[in-house]
Structures are given as C-alpha cells and as structure tokens.
Symmetry: C3
Subunit: 356 residues, 3 copies
C-alpha cells in the first residue's frame, strides 16, 4: 500500500531481484536473514552453489537455520525433516513415504560479483537478465571496497535520502557536503524502471573528504549522476576534477547501494565503492576509505533512525515537495507503477499457496 498523503511507498515490490547477502556470508553454516518480512535460510551446496529456502519448516514452522547440513540438504533441528536445494522434502521421521506437499519455498539465487541476488516473487518470473547493472564490481578495471549495515528505518526513507543529495550540505557538512550541493539544480529522466538525476557543480570548493582522497587543493568540478534501478539498486556516478580539467585528470568513483527491506521499518544496506584499478591505492588507504564511507553512512543512519522515530505511529503525514525533490518524486512514481504491476503476480502466488 502506498501512503495516500505522502505518497511514500510503504509496501514491498516482490517481483524483483534484491541483494540477499555478500557471497562470503553464505557458507556451510546456515545463515538466517529476514527479507521483505520473510525469514530466509541460506547455505552452500557441496559444489559451492548457494541455496535460499524459507526459514520455516513446512511441518511445524521451526527455523531451518537452526538445523544442519547433510550433503546438499538441510535437516530441520526439531523433527529432522530433510529438504533438498529445491525445497522439496526428501525424508520425514517415522514413515517411508514423504507427502508430496512437503515443500518449502525455494528462492531463485544468482551469485554475481560480491553479491548473491535473490528473487522474492514468483520463481517463474526470475529472469537473471533483469538483475540490475553492477558490472563495476566484476570488471577488473575497477577495485571495490564494501560493507553492510541493517538500519532501523523504512526502505523508502533510505531511497528518499539517496535521491536528494542536497542533504549532503546539512547531514554531511563536515565530510562530503558543501553549500553547492543544495544550491545546484538537478535534471532527471526516467528510463523504464531506472530513474536518473544529474547534478553537475562547476568550480566549487571541495568538501573535506574529497580534498583528502584526491589531494586536489583548488576548486573542483563535481558531478553527481544518480542511476536508481527501482527498487533495489542505486548507483551514484561521481566525477571530481580540478576546474575545467579533462577526464584524464579526473577522479571517478561509483557509490553503489543495494537496499533490501528487512521489515516495514528496517532495511539491509549493502554498499560498495568502486574506483578505477589504475587509481589503486595501498591497503591502508582502502581501509581508510571504508572508515570514511562508514562515517558518512553513520551520519545518514543516525538521521534516518531519528526520522523513522519521528513518523506518526498512525501513518499518513503530509509531505511538501520542491524542485530538488524531482528525483524523489520520480522514484515514487516508478515504484508505484512497478508495485502495481508486480502485485497481481504476487497475489496470485500467495493465493496459490493458500489453496495448496
């Protein structure tokens, strides 16, 4: 459901690829994670292929993540039901035959780059070619740092935050913000379910973190080009260069947020920063980069959790939007359309499960 007054999305789009985990989080020890309010257990088969199943045993709803692996199967820790990677039960205690309906939902997974992507909707629609672009994380010409955090704020607040970077001037005044971000107008475009926002700041002072990381002492040209593939993947294309300098002297980076709702009011935030391999930095600088981004993210986290607490419990507050919110309004529209489109498919799947 969309909030009728603020138009802020309060529902989940199920028919989409989300990041479920970093590849290295999924091992032979079952991992439990709540995604779109559904408990999911993830593990690897003997050959390394990742598996995601509903983390509620079909028998008595026990978390399968508290069980153990037997080869490629997972054994429930309560009564021993065994499930294969497709979610089919292969053994039940005390009887030879296994009921046909003994099956837990298996979620399509695709491992690519540092990510394991999960399809939360009808598995029949899980088309890997629709996984959002993340080639910077797989292209050897780019190097990445990354981390994740689960934030106690609803998904839509994080997206809103990222779609209107004018907040950098205020929330991130001491790190990556400067007055120019708020003052420079943006241009937006919509391309399918991708929303783009362009903000090009010419001849502006460099904020503290950029002076540090680039070493540029003069004013800079600073570009922030947002590409948000609704609902789950957000990429910020950054270009920083001395005023008027050509691309060869510019510093490029990609700030990539993969956002996965955990519950109605909390969100998994997987972030990556990619830089050209030719700008490779020593290990200490990479660590320092993680610290810097964690500082910036910490500023957002602090603000977003305070904002989440400030929303009226009964929902339905009034918003007011301005020119800077064009990106914010575009993503609301694209989200609503994609939500309405996916809703039919998901409701059918739920219905099917109910009458099973």
């Amino acid at each position: 459901m969309l909030n009728p007054r603020s138009n802020l999305p309060e529902a989940f789009i199920f028919e989409a690829w989300y990041v479920a985990a970093w590849g290295e989080e999924i091992t032979r020890a079952p991992l439990r994670r709540i995604i779109l309010e559904e408990p999911v257990v993830m593990y690897r088969q003997a050959d390394g292929a990742p598996v995601a199943l509903s983390d509620r045993c079909v028998h008595r709803a026990y978390p399968l993540s508290r069980g153990k692996l037997e080869g490629d199967n997972i054994v429930c820790g309560y009564h021993g039901f065994k499930f294969n990677p497709e979610g089919a039960c292969t053994w039940v205690p005390g009887q030879a035959n296994v009921p046909k309906s003994a099956r837990v939902k298996a979620y399509p997974l695709v491992e690519s780059g540092p990510y394991v992507w999960i399809w939360m909707g009808d598995p029949a629609n899980a088309d890997p070619s629709k996984i959002p672009d993340h080639h910077w994380t797989t292209d050897p010409a780019w190097r990445c740092i990354k981390d994740m955090a689960t934030i106690k704020a609803r998904y839509a607040l994080l997206i809103d935050n990222l779609m209107d970077l004018s907040h950098e001037t205020f929330i991130h005044a001491g790190t990556i913000g400067s007055d120019d971000v708020a003052d420079t107008p943006i241009r937006t475009e919509v391309d399918g379910h991708v929303v783009r926002c362009f903000r090009h700041m010419e001849n502006v002072p460099a904020p503290p973190f950029y002076r540090q990381s680039t070493g540029i002492a003069t004013n800079i040209d600073r570009w922030q080009d947002i590409e948000y593939d609704v609902p789950a993947q957000y990429t910020l294309h950054v270009r920083v260069a001395p005023v008027g300098a050509p691309d060869e002297q510019a510093f490029f980076s990609k700030v990539i947020y993969s956002l996965t709702p955990e519950t109605r009011t909390s969100t998994h935030d997987f972030w990556v920063i990619a830089r050209p391999a030719k700008n490779a930095r020593p290990a200490w600088a990479e660590r320092s980069g993680i610290l810097s981004q964690s500082t910036v993210l910490g500023e957002d986290l602090d603000a977003l959790e305070a904002l989440e607490e400030n929303l009226p419990a009964e929902g339905g507050w009034q918003e007011l939007s301005i020119n800077n919110d064009r990106g914010g309004l575009q993503w609301r529209r694209v989200f609503r359309d994609r939500y309405n489109a996916g809703r039919a498919a998901h409701e059918e799947a739920v219905l099917e499960k109910l009458v099973r």
Copy 2:
C-alpha cells in the same frame, strides 16, 4: 474517547493551556518534547522570546530539533529548510521562491512564573487570560521549590490519584499519610471547569513529614483544599496548625501540579511547592524539601506505573466509586464536558489541515 465502562478519560483536551517546559529549559539549543502525542521543538529568539513549532519539518518530516538556529529562525538539519518563529518557511534549497504552503504548526506560548505555557488547540482560541491561576509562583510573598518528572502512566491516573487524597493513608503511610485522611469525608464543588474538594481534619496526629517540616509536636488541624482547573493545573491548599490555633500560627503551603500528557500512557509532571516568604527557610531546608517531595512523588510514581501496567490491554475495565470519589467523579464530568466542547474546534482544525 472516554472509556465507556470506567468513564476514565482516555482522550486529550487540545483546546487548553498546558505547561510545556520550565522557562530555563528553553534556550538557544532546540528542545524536543512530546506533548499530547505531538512532537514539539522549543527555543528562544535572540530577544529571549520562546518559540514552539511542530518538530516535523513540512518537507520530509525530519525533527527540526536536530537542526540549529540562525538568528530567530530554525534550520532543518536534513535539507536546510528555514522556518521563522511563526512557523513560516523562509528558505528552501535549490530554488528562489518558497512555496506558500511551506509552513509548520506554531504553538502559542506564554511565559509566566517558572512556566512556559503552550496552547495545543486552534491558535485563534489561545486566550492568555485563560491560563490557569498560578500567582503563588509569581507573588513575591511566596517562595517556591520545583522539579519535573515524566511518568509512565496515563494522565487520568495521575489526576485520579490527586483528586482522592485518601490514598495518602496507604501509599504515603510513612511520609504524609495518616488514618484520618481516608476517614475524613470531603465536600466538593464545581465552578466552571474548576473542581474543588475540601477535607478539613481537626485534632489529628501529624504525619512524619509534617512533624519534621513544622516542628509541631502535638496534634494538628490539617486542611487539604483541592482546586483542579481541568485539564492541566492542580493546586492543593494546605493549612497545618496546632489544634485550634489561629492563622498566625498556621503553616500554609501550595502544592501545585501542572500535568501535561506526553502520550496516551505517559505524562509530564511539573510540580511546585510554594510557601509564604515570611516562612523562608535556609537553602539546605529547601533542598531537603525538594527531596521530601521527590520521595512522596516517587511513592506515587511507583504506584501509578504499576497501576498502568495492571490495566487490561484491551481497555474497558469496570470501576466502582464510593463517597471519597466525589472529586474523582466531578473531574470526569467536567473533563468530558470540556472535551466535547473542545472537540468540535479541534476536529475543524484537523480537517482544515487535511484539506490544505
């Protein structure tokens, strides 16, 4: 809504003056406080005048209290919206014109005595002449001690507690209670939205705290005259004297509670004890007075929080009232009448906000 079975008020009267803060709590550092479930930010203008605004920015609901002051205006810490003391937005980022509807609710405030009073209803009705009587806190003939606490119990439980002082015999047995409080009948009267209860105890033993504070070793005459200006201001007029002694030998005091609902189940409790200046005591005795009253309040707080927890979650428990509850029943009636009267005004204001 009023509880249909216990008749215990469970709603808020918006069309009324409440104490929002002590004067010294409001400074150039924004103060956030929840009042009648609404988040309010308070600060002082350069000339010292106090300001109260909705603590939800009109743009994206961020708490203004996390921003900073610029002269007499407050700047949102998220995207920089600026608001003047009337709640009108004076600047938005990225564009020259400010939308007319960019406005947060401004609450009328009046600073008087140690209090800053807030009007939670329609500002058009905020008549300062209707601020409850609190002249003992401003009259130089009286000296005050004071403190505040936020109690995890609904407003009505605090009022009920104060309107039936027979509880002193039990909750405050070791401090200000004696058997006579519960046993002496009361007389009540209603005067507009003021409820009065009179309890005059003649020739009774002095409870421990009164022996200490007055030094009277014999039996006493003890009067407890309650004046409750529904909903927010409660004054207890105390007279303690040796048996049959004239006013010149009597000790007078005013115990003043200003009660402001925070949420449905918690309440800000601002208390003042006023004594004639001619009975002025040394500083240590004043401090001891604060401690004594805090002890008494602590006994109530402990009881009221246990009572709040004991109420059935689904609401609607049965009460039984006796003669001693005449004050308790009168305030319920006056509250209900004032609530119903104010409701129309408040609902109109809400409606207006909705269609804005």
Copy 3:
C-alpha cells in the same frame, strides 16, 4: 479462536483446573501471577488455606498484590479497600456502608500434592473430582523432584513439543534422544479429554542421560507412554530396562508437566519427575536429576522461544502433519471440543459480569 489454517489452538480453555503455583510459593506475602491473561493474587489465610483473588481492585484497578494482609483479608495498598477470602469487600475508606457490588473475583483453589490448582472458569463448575490425576506426587511409594519455568512461547507449542517426542532425536540428541525415537511408530487413543500415545522401542541403544541414570551398559527396551489430560496436565510414563528384562529389573519414572498459559505467547511450566521410592537415590543424585531435567528443558525452551519468534506476526501459517503427529492432531481435536464446550459457560460468566 482456533487458527483456521494450522488448527493450532490459540485460545484458552477457562473451564479447567490448572496449576497456579507450588504450595510453598503461596505464603503470607501476596504472590502475583498472570494466568490465562488474568492477574491473580494468591496468599494464605492464618489457618494455611490458600486464597486466589483477581489482582485488580474493584475500585481503581490497583494490584492487590501490592497491599498487605490483615488476618485473612487483603488490604489494597492504594485506598485501603479490604477483601475477604471470598473476594467480598469488607471495608472502604470514608464511609460506613460497603457497596454490595464491591467484590473481586475469587478463584476456587485446591491444594494437593506439591500443587495448588486453580479453576479459571465459572466457580459453580469447579468440581475438585475433575482435578487431573497426579497421585504419583502424593503416593509415598514415589519420590519427586520438581521445578518451574515461565517460557516465552505459546502454550500450544509446548503441548505440540510434548505430544511428538520424535523431537528428542534432534533437540535432545546429546541427552535423552536417539534415532529410534523418531523412527518408532506410535499408537494413540482418546479417552474423554485424555489423549494417550504409546511408543515402545525394543532393543535400542540407551541415550547418554539414561546410561548415566540407570547404569545399564547394554541395549535397552524403552517405553514412552504419554497421557495428556487436556488442557493442563501431561504425564509421560517411562519404562527403561535391559533388553527383554522383566519389570523387576526395569527403571520406571513419570515425567509430569503441568502447563498453565500465562499470556497468548508465554506459559508457566511446572514439572515433576517421580521415581519409585524403592529406587531412592542419595541427595546429590536428586540434585543431579534436577540439573539433568533442567538441561533437557533448557533445550526445549531454547527451541520453543526461537519457534515462537519465527511465527508470522499476522498469524495463520500452514502446517503439514505426518504419522508421528497423530498425537499432535488428537490433542488439537480434543482441545477444540473441550474449548467449544467450555466457551458457552465462560461467555455466560463474562456476560453476567458485564451486566452486573
């Protein structure tokens, strides 16, 4: 209400005897305990007879358990209302006559064995002859150890756990479980509101705790005969003996759970283990027995609290049942029938209280 999809009981049967406390828990100091969501205060009269009253004063809902005893009566700690063991008010402050309706619910109690049994429904139906069989706790031929815990899991999850001991193979693999429990089929029968399940395992390895407690080094015959008197009393009859050995060489024990719902999602679990007095063990062995059973119970508690958390907040999950669940399905049916039968009686009692 019964969950329409899982058929898992989510309601309380009021018309039944439950264990409210161990005898020694009820003293001259009032004890508060929540039972079937109702706050109950328990204490002993001067002659030792136990009393259970509603822990909400009829006047202003204060917990009577915060008051004190005066002879056989309890005095409310707020305004001094006094109640006798039948729940009738005998004194109110400030007036001579006591209103006839001044009465709190008194719950019928029966003390027997280590237990104090409470009847939560209409007192007129409280027939002591219907208290579940617990003669092993009173018969001098048996010796008992016991303890209690309040578990953060709904009542039905505990019963389900106990009615399908195949979980021992998995949850209790290191203590009392072995593969044979899950693999051996069960036989069930229903006798009024008693459900019985029989599982006889012949010539099977002894699980660790049984090897320890019996000293049998060889394979064993192991019988688990369940007798569940719906809703409150569960007895497991255990027989362990060397393969083919007669009763004289067998070890017998009774594992008795008295389960009393606290809230919708938490349960008081009173457990007793009885052994023949002729097998009496030294004190250290009894203490060790308590530790062993606490270990086993701790394994269940850990699993059941994780399961409770894993249930969808909105309720209504799908279950799948197999042969081993015959006991689990029988108790659901018996519970539903007894619930429906008792419902009429309870609803009438509630109605009566409402129109009082």
